[in-house]
């Protein structure tokens, strides 16, 4: 084990036991009795606000009632009918901003029904059963290409396969799952859940996943559109925004998303290096996930530096509080101006900001923080596919994900809308229904 106070970037700052304890399931699953008690708190609201708040429109009161009446597997089926990645969404959804935020018991007593945990209870129950719960319709002979094996692509592929179409999913990375596999904190998806979920989802049949096939490098959109009956793009945001300050090229400055991906794929977290003093630039979920995990790996100090006020942070209040309880300091209204060091980074210089009529401006007052590792979490950018009209930095779509190119649909983070797993699932699913309608001549 390395001395925890070793300067610079080093692996093994904590013992294997400490690391294992740090990376356990963030929320322990409910057992059957806990689930019954939690389910009993649901009021079975009329036209329930939680359903309205769910991007995939899961019938939440119904599935909770099914748990309460002793049928968690049937509850799981209710969830999967709307959201085939309901298992992952139960783990990663910012429920405090969605279903639980809308729960009338949140309004009444600040203690919503634990919808996320209940959803996990139900989906775990059904997924634990042998076999896949859905059957495919008779084969249609139609072939659809799905580009990107993230939540949008997988949801789209499953729904298409269910309707009897044959689906080929192309994934640039060596493994399917997208951000579920590479982009979220490890303690939200323990025991290889993302990979298990992909395997379970593909259990419907009719889905072939080809990894290591990237659009623009190995695949051409025009060719795909010509060879398949339809194409769905769920390519996400492949690029990251650069940090445009002096010293940004110094050793120790890296992308938060790469750090998270590396961490998620690491066989042994004690071999994963982390700085003693870590600064994360940004204010979204990625910033939180990187900062918290840096702390859990043994960084002595971790600071999130965000350029605007706390209320403007992309990360939910719950996530901010989680970071704080793990010992992450959140510093608001500061922007990076330089990374200092002799070769490798040792310090970051930040300038205080204020929001005026002209927008965000520096005040000229600065501070320096020790930083041997600096993570950029300042947003991701799309690598624009050739031939598609864009809306700013996103692929332009109309209706259920129809792009400017015939036979090509898109959804997920590469299109407008909130960059959330659950939104991606809804968009993938809805595009699949639209593709199905287009291919079979059904109304739509």
């Amino acid at each position: 084990m390395t001395d925890p106070l070793t300067p610079g970037i080093a692996a093994g700052r904590l013992s294997a036991r400490e690391i294992a304890a740090n990376f356990v399931d963030l929320h322990a699953p409910l057992d059957a009795h806990e689930a019954q008690v939690a389910a009993d708190r649901c009021y079975f609201c009329y036209d329930a606000p939680c359903v309205t708040a769910c991007p995939t429109g899961i019938d939440i009161p119904l599935f909770i009632r099914q748990i309460a009446t002793g049928q968690p597997e049937a509850a799981g089926r209710t969830i999967f009918d709307s959201n085939i990645l309901g298992g992952m969404c139960a783990r990663v959804c910012p429920t405090e901003d969605l279903c639980e935020g809308a729960c009338v018991r949140e309004a009444a007593e600040g203690k919503p029904v634990e919808i996320g945990l209940l959803q996990r209870h139900a989906t775990d129950a059904l997924m634990a059963r042998q076999g896949h719960p859905y059957l495919r319709a008779a084969a249609t002979g139609r072939r659809v290409a799905v580009v990107g094996a993230g939540p949008a692509g997988l949801a789209c592929a499953h729904r298409l396969a269910m309707h009897g179409h044959d689906v080929t999913v192309y994934e640039a990375r060596p493994k399917a799952g997208g951000l579920n596999e590479f982009g979220i904190a490890a303690y939200k998806s323990v025991d290889g859940f993302a990979a298990r979920e992909v395997e379970w989802l593909c259990g419907i049949g009719g889905i072939t996943i080809e990894t290591g096939r990237a659009l623009g490098r190995d695949l051409d959109l025009g060719t795909l559109a010509a060879e398949f009956d339809a194409v769905f793009l769920g390519v996400g945001l492949g690029g990251t925004n650069p940090l445009d300050v002096d010293g940004a090229e110094r050793e120790g400055v890296a992308d938060a998303v790469s750090f998270i991906a590396e961490l998620r794929q690491a066989e042994d977290l004690t071999t994963l290096p982390v700085g003693r003093d870590v600064v994360v630039i940004g204010g979204g979920m990625t910033a939180i996930d990187a900062a918290v995990q840096a702390r859990l790996l043994g960084a002595e100090t971790v600071t999130i530096a965000y350029r605007r006020g706390r209320d403007r942070m992309g990360a939910s209040r719950y996530e901010q509080d989680l970071a704080a309880t793990k010992g992450v300091r959140i510093l608001c209204n500061v922007m990076p101006v330089a990374v200092h060091g002799n070769g490798a980074a040792t310090e970051i210089e930040l300038e205080y900001t204020e929001e005026g009529e002209a927008g965000l401006v520096g005040t000229g007052r600065t501070l320096r923080l020790r930083a041997d590792q600096v993570f950029r979490a300042i947003g991701q950018a799309i690598v624009a596919p050739d031939g598609l009209e864009m809306d700013g930095r996103k692929v332009r779509v109309t209706g259920a994900g129809r792009t400017s190119m015939a036979k090509v649909w898109a959804g997920g983070d590469c299109t407008a809308g909130q960059d959330l797993t659950v939104v991606a699932v809804a968009e993938g699913r809805d595009a699949a229904e639209d593709i199905h309608a287009a291919l079979t001549g059904a109304a739509g």
Binding site: H33, Q36, V37, D40, Y43, F44, C45, Y46, D47, A48, P49, V104, R105, A107, A108
Partner: protein, 435 residues
């Protein structure tokens, strides 16, 4: 602090909380623990006739239903009367009574419906110095198949006959315990009074099957794949017991006869409700079986605090206070008009009132943009369902319309005077009377 000392049918006890004849009172050890915990009285587990005692099943004898978090709401049992020798019970009763002279000790008895059987056992019970006897005419399972328990309680003539025998061969108070498994509780109560009973106690347990095991297709509790109906008790039966107690308290035939209230008494408030509906004391079983004997502390303190708060000096001051307000439907004031009112500040917008009213009642609640729920007075019949299903206490209330105002539902002016069915024009009986 209010005085909880109670005199019931001439029997005094330091408080009105007695343990009912049941498993908790089957032997000296339990009863001593109960008295140490503070119970005012105990009705000893029912004694049978001399001879080989009854036997119980050797599998489960209780079944239950639960609310959320496994809160026990209802219990049923197929246990019979005491399965210990009569002599053992009598010796223990005598010892306990000698050690706790201030507590009420009652012997519950169930022997065959023959005068000789009662004549034989009563002198022996008297020797224990018990304060009185309770005739078990209530148990609905097992013993009833042998012509005892509720088999007697369901035939008023038998009740009267046996009560007479007891008054003849026993000189202390006789309490007749009634079964609720009948159509009109006033009939057995009247029979008991006619037989000379000093008091009645009710309710005994209700015929019940708590649940069915859908894998084995057998009722619970299950004995080797079969089940038999048991006696139901606990919080779930309280409303039935309250109604039956009130019927006896207000019936001209039985009015004034002491009533020992039994059925789901779990808290001081339950006890107070039985008392004001005419019970002179209460008997408790399921609550003790669920939580242990210590609950009597909460009951005694709670009842006392409530009495202090309301200025009631003694239990006797409380008994029957609500009885005058129990009446027949036909006497309810039809000129009393209320409308539901939703407190928008308290409303959490769950919409349960709307679903209940729209789907199952009178379409008298409007759902407006922003999930605002408002009562439509022109449709509201004041049924109270919205109040009952609302998860927020006091969010929806029934507000009385002032006399002189117009009910938008009927278009009629609210009259100040009482008017009920007995005088209503739609009542054929009322019309005849007017002619």
């Amino acid at each position: 602090m209010a005085n909880l000392e109670t005199t019931f049918a001439g029997i005094t006890s330091p408080n009105p909380f007695w343990l009912a004849s049941a498993p908790p009172t089957d032997k000296e050890y339990n009863v001593r623990r109960a008295f140490e915990a503070g119970w005012g009285g105990v009705v000893w587990k029912t004694l049978g006739a001399e001879g080989p005692p009854v036997v119980n099943v050797n599998g489960p004898r209780y079944g239950a239903i639960w609310g959320a978090d496994r809160r026990l709401l209802g219990l049923n049992n197929i246990e019979l009367i005491t399965d210990r020798p009569l002599e053992t019970n009598l010796e223990e009763m005598a010892r306990v009574k000698a050690d706790y002279p201030d507590r009420a000790l009652i012997a519950s008895i169930m022997v065959p419906c023959e005068e000789e059987a009662w004549k034989a056992i009563l002198p022996r019970v008297a020797e224990t110095n018990a304060d009185g006897i309770e005739l078990n005419f209530g148990c609905p399972h097992g013993m009833s198949e042998r012509g005892m328990g509720s088999a007697v309680g369901q035939v008023p003539e038998y009740i009267e006959m046996v009560t007479r025998w007891c008054k003849k061969y026993y000189d202390r108070p006789v309490i007749v315990k009634l079964t609720p498994n009948i159509t009109d509780i006033r009939k057995p109560a009247t029979a008991a009074r006619n037989g000379g009973a000093d008091a009645v106690s009710l309710i005994n347990t209700i015929n019940s099957i708590t649940s069915v095991n859908l894998d084995t297709m057998a009722p619970e509790p299950t004995i080797d794949g079969k089940g038999s109906h048991g006696g139901y008790c606990g919080p779930a039966v309280k409303p039935i017991a309250l109604s039956m107690v009130s019927e006896i308290a207000r019936d001209p035939e039985t009015r004034g006869m002491p009533i020992s209230g039994i059925g789901g008494v779990t808290t001081w408030r339950d006890a107070a409700e039985f008392l004001v509906l005419g019970a002179g004391n209460v008997q408790v079983c399921t609550a003790a079986m669920t939580y242990g004997f210590r609950i009597v502390e909460e009951m005694a303190r709670g009842l006392s605090a409530w009495m202090d708060d309301k200025g009631h000096a003694s239990v006797a001051d409380v008994v029957g206070r609500a009885v005058p307000n129990v009446t027949d439907w036909k006497h309810l004031n039809l000129n009393y008009v209320t409308k539901a009112r939703i407190d928008q500040e308290a409303c959490i917008q769950c919409g349960r009132c709307y679903a209940a009213c729209e789907d199952t009642s009178h379409q008298a609640i409007a759902m407006k943009p922003g999930r605002v729920f408002e009562v439509i007075d022109a449709e509201c019949v004041a049924c109270n369902l919205c109040v009952n299903v609302c998860p927020v206490e006091n969010c929806i209330s029934m507000v009385e319309m002032e006399a002189g105002s117009v009910d938008p539902r009927t278009g009629r002016t609210v009259e100040p005077a009482h008017a009920d069915w007995t005088t209503h024009p739609n009542n054929p009986g009322a019309l005849r009377a007017a002619e």
